[in-house]
């Protein structure tokens, strides 16, 4: 076997492992990114679509934010104009979180109809323009 063939085998192994890692990575860690409307449709189509990890992108409904500092509980509602979901989150929300921002909520929809968030990311409002970070 000449060096070229051996190298091709080695290269093939690397490409295959990169491919495998990527495929399994997507399969194991990929999450649906849904709008509230899409989430409603998903639940209507598949009644078992509860307790599935996902991300929901929507805007916070003005006036629905309630914060209990002592227990670090944050409750608010998100909407995309048509569908609306309540969210509960335990922890410290990011600085940019207010009742007028777009958020990405990471978490699971439970049978009680509430999204139990494990993470809340706030996108910047219109006046907020940031320099790209690294």
């Amino acid at each position: 076997m000449n060096a070229g063939t051996k190298f091709a085998i080695g290269a093939g192994l690397i490409v295959a492992s990169v491919g495998y890692l990527m495929a399994s990575g997507v399969k194991e860690t990929g999450q649906y990114f849904l709008t509230p409307t899409e989430l409603t449709q998903k639940v209507a189509l598949d009644p078992s679509f509860y307790n599935v990890g996902m991300r929901v992108g929507a805007h916070v409904v003005r006036g629905t934010v309630s914060k209990d500092v002592a227990t670090q509980t944050l409750r608010f509602e998100v909407s995309d104009g048509s569908a609306r979901y309540p969210v509960v989150f335990h922890g410290l929300p990011p600085d940019t979180f207010t009742d007028s921002v777009e958020v990405v909520v990471e978490g699971r929809l439970q049978k009680d109809g509430v999204i139990h968030a494990t993470n809340v990311l706030a996108k910047c409002g219109s006046r907020y323009e940031s320099v790209p970070k690294a």
Binding site: A3, G4, K6, F7, G10, A11, I14, V15, S17, V18, L21, M22, S24, G25, V26, E28, T29, G30, Q31, Y32, F33, L34, E38, R55, G57, K67, V69, A70, T71, Q72, G91, L92, P94, D95, T96, F97, T98, V104, E106, L121, A122, K123, C124, S126, R127, Y128, E129, S130, V131, P132, K133, A134
Partner: protein, 674 residues
């Protein structure tokens, strides 16, 4: 003054268009008059853009709030330091910054390139002018001129986003931009070589220096960005695999690949096609990064607000990609390799695998970043992948790369013999084995962290062995003292030993990253006098006691600060003061959201990181998050060592005789074969 700025922009745009035409036509038609004109156009464009920058800074310093950009990003009470950096705080200003820096780099490249490369220069001038003209056209035709005026004059400006009011933020964006922008120079040289069909060793030397420079800026920019995220954003980490972060990592990876594979081309005349593709790819990725941060196509916490500017970049990216690769495909026959791979156990093969891994990592990062878009196109539903995906894929690939970092320098070029391998690997492998034993005995059980430390020790073993052998050889040959011979070794062969210093920095970074596997944190609501304990991975018990809150006014903000006493195993080691800040304008009205200022105690082995989450209204009861981040200190110093190594490699003059001889030999070989 804004009139002057606008005139500057238009002038620069016209000069750019002329420079592009004159440069490329001048080169193809071999007309020295046009070539000279293109060169002067770049210098003049640089001057016109500097005038535009000057007039924007003038408006910023004179608080001319009638200018929309000034009103949007500064205020009367903004510290002067940040007023200056507001030049690149927003979309419009950063476009101006981009174009200006590019024209400065372009002028330097034209002025500094030695005479024997003159044939390439008209094309270089042409490509630089074309790219700069594109950036200026975005400002002029994409409603993104920083000189636009408002219909009225506000009394005060909006002020700068508090998160950007951090020293790291003053230096991080320009460094990153310098990295992004300077890739255009090697790209311009690559295009020049393809256009002129002068694909010999000269252009390669010109390209390598400039790629090293961009690589260095990008490395520093990425590290400063991590530092800024860590000390300012308050989530307790430095890297989140955000699309914008990924965008800066992509060209860094492909340039790292190039800096290795270019050695194979220099020494063996192989991989010409691959190297050119890497340069073109790196540049396209830098434009892609600019597109991602400015278009809002991929949701990122850091991106600029959505605007039509994104379409300009997408269009430019597509056109530039097609033109570059069409030219590349057309010139492929001129890029045949002069040698073949002789053995799998050779430096060439290990570099090839290193390249494949780097590209594999880059591809997976690109894939993960674009996955929401791709999955929506294919399946109709958006699926996102987050940090778990990137970690799952990149930790094993990164560790394989770390292994090659050690293996590569130990294997001879062309073909390594078995005795040679034994001689080379004995010490480093022993060092790696011992390090593994030590951490195993110390009780570490995390698999990836163990592998990272074993491989890190192995690589350090190779670096020390290389330095020791080189120094010993000099000591024997010239009778120099060991210290002197070590210094001379580095000075005479900067590229090789500077490279090893970069490797040392990379090892430190990897080990420091592995430390994050042992991050521990807790959240607690504390009244003054109450405390919470956290056990560090080293077995210490840290006790954090809230001493109470204080409130005071600073220059442009109202501060709520907590005092937290820290004890390690019962002994007081210091005080931490996390803050909540409410920024205010000149009239005391709140601007922006309250921002969090973490307080960090950076120790050699671990960082104590405290965030003040909030205060229960009307009481002194406050919510804290306490995090213990192992080895973070080492991330910053690892980055510093990488930068230092890069500087040594780049430092002009000197140069090793061996390298020069190798290049000369290669050039001779080229002539001989033709």
């Amino acid at each position: 003054m804004t009139v002057l700025g606008t005139i500057g922009l238009w002038l620069a745009f016209l000069l750019g268009v002329w420079g592009a035409l004159a440069g490329i036509v001048g080169g193809l038609a071999e007309r020295p008059d046009l070539a000279r004109s293109a060169r002067h156009a770049v210098f003049a464009m640089c001057g016109a853009l500097l005038i535009a920058v000057f007039s924007l800074e003038w408006a910023l310093f004179h608080h001319d709030f009638n200018v929309e950009y000034v009103a949007a990003y500064t205020s009367r009470n903004l510290p002067i330091f940040y007023t200056w950096s507001a030049l690149y705080a927003g979309q419009k200003g950063s476009l101006l910054f981009w174009a200006t820096v590019l024209s400065v780099f372009g002028s330097l490249a034209l002025a500094l390139t030695p005479r024997h490369n003159r044939a390439l220069l008209p094309y270089v001038a042409g490509v630089v002018s074309a790219v700069a003209a594109f950036f200026i056209s975005v400002m002029l035709f994409g409603h993104a001129s920083p000189f636009e005026r408002l219909a009225y004059t506000p009394l005060d400006g909006n002020g700068l986003n508090p998160q950007l009011q951090n020293p790291g933020m003053v230096f991080h964006p320009p460094m990153l931009y310098l990295g992004y922008i300077s890739i255009t120079i090697p790209y311009a040289f690559a295009m020049a070589a393809l256009l002129s069909k002068k694909l010999d060793v000269d252009w390669l030397v010109a390209i390598r220096k400039w790629t090293l420079l961009s690589w260095l800026f990008l490395s520093i920019g990425i590290c400063l960005g991590m530092w800024w995220a860590y000390v300012e954003l308050g989530w307790g980490g430095y890297w989140a695999w955000d699309p914008v972060e990924n965008a800066s990592l992509l060209p860094w990876l492909t340039m790292t690949a190039f800096l290795h594979s270019v050695m194979i081309q220099e020494k063996r005349g192989m991989l010409k096609k691959w190297n050119l593709a890497l340069i073109i790819g790196s540049w396209l990725l830098s434009i892609f990064g600019t597109f991602i941060t400015r278009s809002g196509v991929i949701s990122s916490v850091h991106s600029f607000t959505q605007s039509n500017v994104g379409y300009f970049f997408l269009g430019f990216l597509i056109v530039a990609g097609i033109v570059s690769f069409a030219l590349y495909a057309n010139r492929l026959p001129l890029l045949e390799a002069e040698a073949r791979l002789e053995s799998m156990i050779s430096r060439e093969a290990s570099f090839l695998f290193n390249n494949l891994l780097l590209i594999g990592i880059a591809f997976s990062v690109l894939w993960g970043t674009l996955f929401p878009i791709l999955s929506e196109l294919v399946q109709g539903t958006k699926i996102t992948v987050g940090p778990p995906f990137f970690n799952e894929v990149n930790i094993p690939l990164g560790l394989a790369l770390l292994a090659l970092t050690g293996i590569g320098p130990l294997i001879a070029w062309r073909r390594a013999s078995v005795p040679n391998l034994k001689r080379q690997f004995a010490v480093p492998l022993t060092v790696g084995g011992f390090a593994t034993l030590i951490v195993l005995v110390a009780g570490m059980r995390d698999f990836y962290a163990l592998v990272a430390i074993a491989l890190g020790a192995f690589v350090l073993g190779t670096v020390v062995q290389e330095f020791a052998r080189g120094a010993r050889a000099r000591h024997r040959q010239y009778g120099e003292s060991y210290v002197l011979s070590l210094g001379r070794l580095l000075a005479r062969n900067r590229r090789r030993y500077g490279g090893y210093i970069v490797h040392t920095g990379i090892v430190i970074l990897f080990v420091a990253f592995a430390g994050m596997a042992f991050k521990t944190e807790t959240e607690a609501t504390l009244r003054p006098g109450e405390s919470v304990s956290l056990r560090s991975p080293y077995g210490y018990t840290y006790t954090f006691t809230s001493l109470g809150l204080s409130q005071y006014d600073a220059l442009n903000r109202q501060v709520t600060a907590a005092a937290v006493e820290v004890r390690r195993d019962g002994k007081t080691i210091g005080l931490l003061n996390p803050e909540k800040r409410q920024h205010v304008d000149g009239l005391g009205r709140p601007t922006f959201q309250p921002s969090t200022e973490p307080s960090i105690m950076s120790l050699l082995r671990e960082d104590l990181y405290v965030v003040l989450g909030g205060v229960v209204n009307g009481t002194e009861q406050a919510v804290f998050r306490f995090t213990i981040n192992p080895l973070v200190w080492w991330v910053w110093y690892g980055g510093l060592i990488v930068a230092l190594g890069g500087l040594i490699v780049m430092w002009p003059g000197g140069g090793s005789l061996a390298v020069k001889r190798a290049q000369a030999g290669y050039a001779v070989r080229l002539v001989g074969e033709k």
